[in-house]
Every structure is written in structure tokens, then in C-alpha cells.
């Protein structure tokens, strides 16, 4: 049961219902020898999202004994989804989803960069980001259907889409949020104080469509992290860059579960290791020395 204003709850419950209706839809699983290695077997999963949209996800399964902690890597803001990292491949059953518009899920629609962040505005029903969240929710359902996983230990990592997806499900145990939120404090960005994309896309849209901005603001309000936060019940790490201390603390306070805030430092390699260590511990998995090979 979602928490929040009626408009927010109704909007996302109807999206959830669309996704749930797909649970019996077929999923095709094909081995990818080129991306399989000594640690894990790589599979490509093909399935449909809402609107009968064809989606693709990498799915990597460790070569040791099952079951495994299922880790859903929510896609970031860009056209390419990477094969999951080496340091995750021997411990987690990892899914890396390509949402609609990204490469490998772009048969029917190719996302533009810049452009995706405002695609479909101002109408809440046509705004593309809603479908991207739905793609993540569908991907998680597919992940939980795989035979090798322990469905009681679902973990999610990523930025906005990870945060939003985790909030819309009650079966997420662990949530690692890192990178940069594009929806953090978007009103601040839309005040023309930045040249930096992708947030600058909001300014571009507003400048060209002043008559549509009021409706667009209402739609974007449905993606405000503060509205998702009370719905999160997972053990959460907030390691998002670009958030002010006030925003981090406010979001952390609003989350309905244990939260660790790990503000990024200037030492990015150490930050990465700390995040991966937190993820391993939260999932009950052994720590990994990280991506660095011995010299």
C-alpha cells in the first residue's frame, strides 16, 4: 500500500497494476558466451514491458552453488547499459536492465540525449520517465522469477530509477543509491542556475514551452524523491553526489527504514569501495577486494 498524496498514490498504483498484469508474460533467456567468464555465466533476457514494449536485460549468474542474492542494477541516464562489473559477478545474480530507448531496448523507440528527461512532458500519462520506472518494476519481476535466486534477499542499486523502483515495491531488502539524482531539487535547477546537463533540459523545455510549464511542474512533482522516500522500507545507503547536506538529511529522515548516509568525498575510488563493502554487508555476502588487480 503506497503512502502519500492521493494524486501520487493513484498515479503509481495504476502503473504498478499495469506491470503486475504482465507477470505471466513470456521471458526468453539466451546464453551470451562472449560475456561469460570464469566467474559467471552471462544471459540475455528478453521480455515485454507495459505497452507491449520489447525490453532486454543482461543477467549474470555466478558459477558457484545457488541460490544467490538477486541484485537489480537500475539503468542510469545514458544510452548504454554496461555489462555488470567484475567485482559483483562472483557473488550476486545481477540483472542490468536496458529501459526503453536505451541501446538493446531501442527497437521501437530511441531515446535522445539530451531530450529524454523532458520527453513526453507536460502530460503525466505521456511523460517517458513513468514508462522507464515501469520497465524497472517489470525487470525486477523477471529477476525474481529466475531459478537461481533467493527472492527473500532482493537488492537494488542505482540512482533515481533505483530509488523510485525500491519505493514502489515492498519486497526490497537492500537499496544502494549512488551517482547523481536528476530529480533532486529540480526546481532549483529549473531556476536557470545551471548550464549542466541533464538538468539543463528542464530549463530548455521551460524556455521554449512557458505555457506548458505549469502542467509540466505537476507531472515532475510525481517524481520528487521526497514523495517516494516514505515508501522505502529497504535498508538504504544514500551515497548520492550533488545532494546538499540538507537534502540528504531530509530524504534520509523521510525514508521508512534504516538509512546510512555516505556523502561522496573527493576520493572516488575509496567511495566506490565503501559502497561495495556496505552492499556486501547489507546483503550478507562476503566483501570483495574491489576492481583493482594485484600489481
Amino acid at each position: 500500500m503506497l503512502i502519500g498524496e492521493r494524486h501520487f498514490v493513484d498515479f503509481w498504483q495504476s502503473t504498478l497494476d499495469e506491470v503486475i498484469a504482465l507477470r505471466s508474460a513470456p521471458v526468453r533467456r539466451a546464453r551470451i558466451p562472449l560475456r561469460s567468464n570464469e566467474l559467471s555465466t552471462a544471459w540475455g533476457l528478453s521480455f515485454t514491458g507495459i505497452g507491449d514494449y520489447p525490453l532486454f536485460a543482461y543477467y549474470l549468474v555466478p558459477k558457484v552453488s545457488a541460490p544467490f542474492t538477486p541484485l537489480f542494477q537500475a539503468p542510469g541516464y545514458g544510452s548504454v547499459v554496461a555489462v555488470p562489473a567484475w567485482e559483483r559477478r562472483n557473488r550476486f545474480a545481477v540483472m542490468a536492465l536496458c529501459h526503453r530507448g536505451q541501446r538493446l531496448s531501442d527497437d521501437d523507440y530511441k531515446a535522445a540525449y539530451p531530450g529524454l528527461l523532458t520527453d513526453g512532458l507536460p502530460d503525466q500519462d505521456t511523460y517517458r520517465w513513468r514508462e522507464m520506472v515501469a520497465d524497472c518494476l517489470r525487470g525486477i519481476d523477471v529477476l525474481l522469477d529466475q531459478p537461481e535466486i533467493n527472492s527473500g534477499n532482493l537488492a537494488i542499486s542505482g540512482s533515481d530509477l533505483a530509488f523510485q523502483s525500491a519505493a514502489l515495491r515492498n519486497d526490497v531488502e537492500v537499496l544502494l543509491t549512488s551517482g547523481q539524482f536528476v530529480f533532486d531539487d529540480w526546481e532549483r535547477y529549473s531556476a536557470s542556475t545551471t548550464d549542466v546537463y541533464p538538468q539543463q533540459e528542464f530549463n530548455d523545455y521551460r524556455r521554449l514551452n512557458p505555457e506548458k510549464w505549469e502542467e509540466a511542474e505537476r507531472t515532475l512533482g510525481l517524481f520528487d524523491p521526497m514523495k517516494f522516500a516514505p515508501n522505502i522500507t529497504a535498508n538504504t545507503l544514500l551515497a548520492v553526489s550533488g545532494l546538499s547536506d540538507v537534502s540528504s538529511a531530509t530524504i534520509a529522515d523521510a525514508i521508512n527504514a534504516e538509512v546510512t548516509v555516505l556523502s561522496p568525498t573527493e576520493y572516488s575510488a575509496l567511495d566506490h569501495l565503501a559502497q561495495e563493502d556496505w552492499l556486501a554487508e547489507a546483503c550478507g555476502e562476503p566483501k570483495h577486494p574491489g576492481p583493482f588487480l594485484p600489481r
Partner: protein
């Protein structure tokens, strides 16, 4: 990793005997293709300070390449020019911030990038090993030329001062920066290469398990008998073999804990750079963004301001972030 150990590393790259001739012929074949530069104003991305254009030109084997061109809206002619070259998986930066800093900026989308992938689209992963067993059709042959021709596009813009041209980028953009600075060494006036990729490629594949170099490991796992052929191809394309021809002032930055582009290969390529005016910046406990969090963006801003003398047209958000 210890900095002195990293700097003691010696690359195993060998320069093929026909390296100069191969690239001379490739450049000639590229330059025979009419660049046919076209600009279309993009009102959506232009703003009070900056005009943004969608750019298109023709490159090696007549493939159409896209890019963004941005310049200050009200500028004192002529402008210094900057070529921004992209990382491996990122889309080319929309360079309104750099234009506001006073530069005419071309941000290129070489083949396989969105908007330039109708003819050539091996994808990501995929590009690094596309036709890797063929020296003449390896995917980076045209890709390299796309970067060089993007620079030519910029250099021939009427408002650009051809004596004040710079190149910058991080990761693959760092590699392409070194490439363009070498192949256009008579005109590039300043360059900044971050976390350079495509340097000591075979060594890099053995020093990391992180993509994109992991693509080489993936390929050789399935095709172990091809290692010698792959090494031969990569020697011909390794950026390490280009940089002795660089003459301009240049800065290079690396993160000492970069798992994507092993830092020792950055040290090695820096040593091989021909320019006498070169400086390296290293960042402890930094990964692939190679010092962005420790203020390297300001170093780059000041470096280009010193060598290219721009006139900013508005306050800038500033900062250069390497992309992969």
C-alpha cells in the same frame, strides 16, 4: 598503488614498421572525402548567452558524422576554438558551459555514437573488438578519422581563430585528444587529456577486469589462437605510438586508483609525449574521473585560459568531468 611503481612501468607496445605509412594513407583517404560541413540552429538548446547548432559532416568512407557546435551569442571575433571528444559510452557533451566561457566548441559524436550510427553500429560493448583481427577494417580506423575531421570542421569555422585551437576530453576523449594533437600537430595550440584510454591496450587488458578493456579479454577467451593477430592490430592503433609527434602545450591527469584505464599506462604515454611543454597531474585514491572531485576541472579551465585567451560571456558552472 604506489606512484613510483606506476611511473616505473614500461609499455610493451611496439610501433609497427608501416605505422607512419598506414596513417598517412588513412589521412589521405579521409581528406579526399569532401567534409561538407552543415549547421542547423537548435533553438531548444540555445539560450541567452549561447547559440547551439546541430552539426553534420562527412568523414572516412563518406560516413556522416554528427556533433554539437556551440558559440557565444555576442562575441568579439575571432573566437578561440575547442574540440571536445567523448568517452567510450557517453554521448557527446552539449557544450553550452564552455561556449559561455568564451569558446567556439565542437563536441563530436564519432561513428557508433547516437546520431552517427546509421552505417556503423557495433554497439557498446562491441566497438573495441569490432573487426579486431583486420588491420584495415578495425572499427577504430574510421572512428579516429572522425575525431580528426571534427577538429578540421572547427578549424574552418569563419569565426574561429585558427591560431587558438585546443582539444580536450577524458578517457576515450583523452585518447582522441592525444590522437588529434598528434595528427594535427601543426595547428593544435593546447590540449588536455584525462585518464587516457586506448594506450598500451594489450597491457591494459591484463591490468584490469573492468570494461571496456574487458572486451579484449572476452574476445581472447573465445579466440585464444588470435592473440598475436589482435596484438598486431592494436599496436597499429595504440595511442602510445602517436604521441611522440605532439608539439603543443599539454596536460594529462590520471587517478592513481583508476580501474578502467590503468594509471601506469597513463604514466607511460605521458613519458612518450613529444612536447617539451607537458605536465602531469596525479590524484591519489581517485578512480576513473581522475581528479574531478579534487578540483582538476579548475586546472583545465586555467590551462586553456592561459593558452587560448577566451572572453567569457557569462558566469559559468565550470568544471570538466571525464566521461567514459
Amino acid at each position: 598503488m604506489n606512484k613510483s611503481n606506476l611511473s616505473n612501468y614500461r609499455s610493451s607496445v611496439v610501433k609497427p614498421h608501416d605505422f607512419q605509412e598506414f596513417w598517412r594513407q588513412t589521412l589521405e583517404a579521409t581528406e579526399r572525402v569532401d567534409l561538407n560541413p552543415r549547421l542547423t540552429l537548435d533553438p531548444m538548446r540555445s539560450n541567452y548567452h549561447v547559440e547551439v547548432f546541430e552539426a553534420v559532416y562527412r568523414s572516412y568512407e563518406s560516413v556522416e558524422i554528427a556533433g554539437w557546435y556551440a558559440r557565444p551569442r555576442n562575441h568579439p571575433d575571432p573566437l578561440p576554438g575547442l574540440l571536445f571528444v567523448p568517452g567510450y559510452v557517453s554521448e557527446p557533451k552539449l557544450p553550452t558551459d564552455l561556449a559561455r566561457d568564451g569558446y567556439a566548441v565542437f563536441s563530436a559524436a564519432p561513428r557508433n555514437k547516437l546520431r552517427s550510427n546509421r552505417v556503423f553500429n557495433p554497439g557498446y560493448p562491441g566497438l573495441l573488438t569490432h573487426n579486431i583481427e583486420s588491420r584495415s577494417t578495425y572499427g577504430y580506423r574510421g572512428f579516429y578519422m572522425d575525431a580528426v575531421r571534427a577538429f578540421d570542421f572547427l578549424a574552418q569555422m569563419p569565426e574561429v581563430d585558427e591560431r587558438r585551437l585546443g582539444v580536450l576530453g577524458g578517457s576515450q576523449g583523452g585518447a582522441l585528444t592525444l590522437l588529434v594533437s598528434s595528427l594535427r600537430n601543426n595547428v593544435v595550440a593546447a590540449a588536455s587529456a584525462g585518464a587516457p584510454y586506448l594506450c598500451s591496450m594489450m597491457d591494459s587488458a591484463s591490468l584490469t577486469r573492468t570494461y571496456p578493456y574487458e572486451e579484449i579479454n572476452d574476445y581472447l577467451r573465445l579466440n585464444p589462437e588470435s592473440e598475436s593477430t589482435v596484438r598486431d592490430t592494436l599496436n597499429l592503433y595504440d595511442i602510445h605510438n602517436f604521441v611522440d609527434q605532439i608539439k603543443c602545450p599539454i596536460i594529462v591527469n590520471v587517478g592513481l586508483k583508476d580501474d578502467v584505464c590503468p594509471p601506469e599506462t597513463g604514466f607511460a604515454v605521458f613519458e612518450a609525449i613529444g612536447s617539451e611543454n607537458k605536465q602531469m597531474y596525479t590524484y591519489k585514491d581517485c578512480g576513473h574521473e581522475s581528479g574531478a572531485g579534487q578540483g582538476h576541472g579548475k586546472v583545465i579551465t586555467e590551462f586553456f585560459a592561459k593558452h587560448l585567451s577566451p572572453n567569457p560571456v557569462g558566469s559559468s558552472a565550470g568544471g570538466f568531468v571525464p566521461e567514459i
